[in-house]
């Protein structure tokens, strides 16, 4: 993760504000800022209550990223996201987003995405290069401000550290058929969880994805996808317990989304149902501090299913179910907590949100998490506001 001190952003923000046109002249005077990129800023803040201390959260059976933690207890600021994008010329499009986060009193900046994309390749081909959120799965490309719940699905938290973004290149092809068919693959540096250490001379991960979708009449639409993420991990740290992993990590994903709106008019009422299933196989060695090394062969599964219903133009209600299960072999000794596969964690969440306009959202969420070892009741209150350009969201 690339982090630079707060001072860097202290410079960037005034520059960004200068770039925002103060007003568009009615006389149509063309000034130098007419070609500025679209700029938007996302503000996100929340209050979180946990019946159990979230610092003690352990999901037994999963070698997860260090950063799977739920939102901080009490009042906290989420990611403040600065997004810029524009056509570079008639051949290329560019996109940049950085997030500022408050962590333990310090402000940190994370470069989330910085990529370019081709606009004019023939045969339905497109290339993307830079740092980007991988196109695997359904939820993976979504930034937190577009999530339907305060937190990511549990399977994304443990298998992908929230979501998988890395530096690399993507080739994507859209078939010349009436039915939507899209195939693609990515070669990535392998610096982000579940990869680590930029193995294979800096090409430590690759992905493949295939998806199709369409409409059913005028009121329904759907999409179905299959994805694979294959990563090499070198000296990958995992959260609590000081476990280091070296080896292969393969993640297989199935995703499905179905949307309904009467006559396709989603403004008034609409229903979105999404579900994903993931299977991870990890093969290699673990080094556990104070315990020594061991061969490790982990098989883990995760799924979530959610439904969000907009029942009036400003109001939505949603439910989500998360489930994880694992079957791990650790040769040599029995590690009592982290690799224990005896428990199947699950979580049930329900949320209600209100959007005064497309640019503001207020949300209330309650979740119940049973990790097998502990159970936790969670309550969240959140605001998400977007300033500036009107970003288009993926299906």
């Amino acid at each position: 993760m690339n982090r630079v001190p707060f001072a860097f952003f202290a410079l960037a923000l005034p520059v960004a504000l200068i770039l925002v046109p103060e007003e568009l002249s009615a006389q149509g005077v063309v000034s130098g800022n007419a070609f500025n990129p679209s700029i938007s800023l996302i503000l996100d803040g929340k209050y979180s209550y946990y019946s159990d201390d979230p610092d003690d959260l352990v999901l037994p059976g999963f070698l997860a990223d260090e950063e799977i933690g739920p939102p901080e207890e009490g009042l906290s600021l989420g990611e403040s996201e600065l997004v810029m994008s524009a056509n570079i010329d008639d051949q290329f499009y560019g996109f940049f987003t950085a997030a500022l986060e408050d962590e333990d009193g310090d402000t940190e900046i994370e470069l989330e995405e910085a990529w370019i994309q081709t606009l004019a390749l023939p045969y339905g081909l497109g290339i993307k290069a830079g740092k980007f959120y991988s196109d695997i799965g359904y939820h993976n490309v979504k930034h937190p401000h577009t999530w339907d719940f305060v937190d990511a699905p549990l399977a994304y938290s443990v298998f992908l550290g929230g979501n998988y973004g890395d530096t690399g290149a993507q080739l994507r092809w859209v078939a010349p058929t009436t039915q939507f068919i899209e195939l693609g693959g990515e070669v990535l540096r392998g610096d982000s969880f579940p990869a680590n250490g930029a193995a294979n001379d800096g090409a430590g991960a690759f992905t493949l994805f295939a998806r199709t979708g369409g409409d059913i009449g005028v009121s329904q639409s759907w999409r179905f996808g299959l994805s694979l993420l294959s990563a090499d991990a070198e000296e990958r740290d995992s959260g609590e317990g000081d476990v280091t992993f070296d080896g292969d990590s393969d993640l297989y994903m199935v995703d499905f989304v179905w949307k309904w709106a009467e006559n396709g008019n989603s403004k008034l009422r609409n229903l979105v149902v999404a579900a994903e299933y993931m299977h991870r196989e990890e093969d290699g060695d673990v080094a556990i501090e104070d315990s020594g090394d061991a061969e490790y062969d982990g098989d883990q599964d995760g799924l979530y299913a959610q439904a969000v219903y907009q029942f009036r133009p400003k109001w939505r209600v949603g439910v989500r179910y998360d489930y994880l299960t694992s079957s791990n072999d650790v040769d040599g000794f029995a590690e009592p907590t982290l690799l224990d596969d005896g428990d199947d964690p699950y979580r049930f969440s329900t949320m209600l949100d209100f959007s005064h306009s497309e640019f503001s959202r207020l949300r209330l969420q309650a979740s119940y998490l049973d990790t097998g070892a502990t159970d936790d009741t969670q309550i969240f209150m959140q605001y998400i506001m977007s300033l500036g350009a009107h970003g288009a969201h993926k299906f």
Binding site: D90, G185, F359, A392
Partner: protein
């Protein structure tokens, strides 16, 4: 590690189907699909992304639309940021270089008409306003011809074999449209000065054409759903005025206009904003015929 790149390139080569005989037009809105049908005849297959029952501001970049843009020879949309929430994404997802903005295969109708209500200052405190001006240009039939001329030229440029046919169809359409405009203009005289209330600020071009006087809108700010407080204020504002109708489009909720209709004793009126929006508005000509019929039904 296998090479996914070479596998994909091979698949692309194998599956790239030759272009079919029809010129495929992807229209964002039904009015431009209908216009492409008038101007392209049998040589053109035109489909619209949005139906008359859908709010064009809230369409999603669905898989079916990506596939259609992928295969389109020409994309014709209103532009002026009307489709900003979904069209740019659709164009980038579809990987079709022929229909990117700036190419012959991309036509924004708003570039060829004079826009009204270009804001002097843009601030979201004013609601979801359109910085380039009000994009609902198709409610004035006088805006159709300039777009038709450009659309016909694009069809001819993309499909030179049909250029003579497109020129003939344009001439035929021009004559019929001008006759219709004269007919409608005669009927419009009786409506001039009539006061109306609207749901969303999307009828200003119709108002300008017919000389209607818009008293207010049910949305306090564009894009913000009507609230009880604003409707009560609107009711008080109507007071001494004499609006003849509360106008909305087919995709808008009936409840706010019916509430106000019941209190103020003014009829709630659904007007066709595009082809297929209401019964009888089956082609471009019928849209304005039905619009005038319905307005005459409530006129003094």
């Amino acid at each position: 590690m296998k090479s996914p790149v070479s596998v994909l390139a091979l698949a692309a080569w194998l599956l790239s189907a030759p272009a079919l005989a029809d010129l495929k037009v992807f229209a964002c809105e039904p009015e431009w699909a209908a216009l492409a049908g008038e101007l392209g005849g049998a040589r053109v297959e035109a489909v619209a992304a949005v139906t008359g029952a859908q709010d064009v501001h809230y369409i999603q970049a669905r898989p079916s639309l990506i596939a259609r843009v992928r295969n389109a020879d020409l994309v014709v949309c209103t532009g002026a940021d009307l489709e900003v929430a979904w069209l740019p994404l659709l164009l980038r997802q579809a990987n079709n270089p022929r229909v990117q903005p700036g190419q012959t295969g991309f036509l924004a109708a708003a570039d060829f008409v004079t826009l009204l209500e270009i804001p002097v200052a843009v601030d979201r405190a004013g609601g979801d306003i359109h910085p380039f001006g009000n994009p609902h240009i198709q409610t004035d039939p006088r805006n159709i011809l300039p777009v038709a001329v450009e659309l016909s030229a694009r069809l001819g440029a993309i499909d030179p074999d049909g250029a003579a046919e497109y020129a003939r169809l344009l001439e035929d359409f021009r004559v019929r449209w001008q006759q219709a405009l004269e007919r409608w203009q005669a009927r419009a005289a009786a409506l001039a000065g009539m006061e109306v209330v609207v749901h969303h600020n999307s009828w200003i071009y119709m108002n300008a054409w017919l000389g209607l006087d818009q008293l207010g809108s049910l949305e306090a700010k564009p894009g913000v759903p009507p609230s009880a407080g604003h409707l009560a204020a609107l009711l008080a504002q109507i007071g001494s005025h004499n609006p003849r109708a509360i106008v909305r489009a087919a995709y808008q909720s009936a409840r706010p206009s019916e509430w106000l209709s019941g209190r103020a004793g003014i009829p709630a009126l659904v007007l066709p904003h595009t082809v297929g929006a209401v019964e009888g508005a089956d082609d471009l000509f019928a849209v304005y015929e039905v619009m005038l019929d319905r307005l005459e039904g409530v006129a003094p």
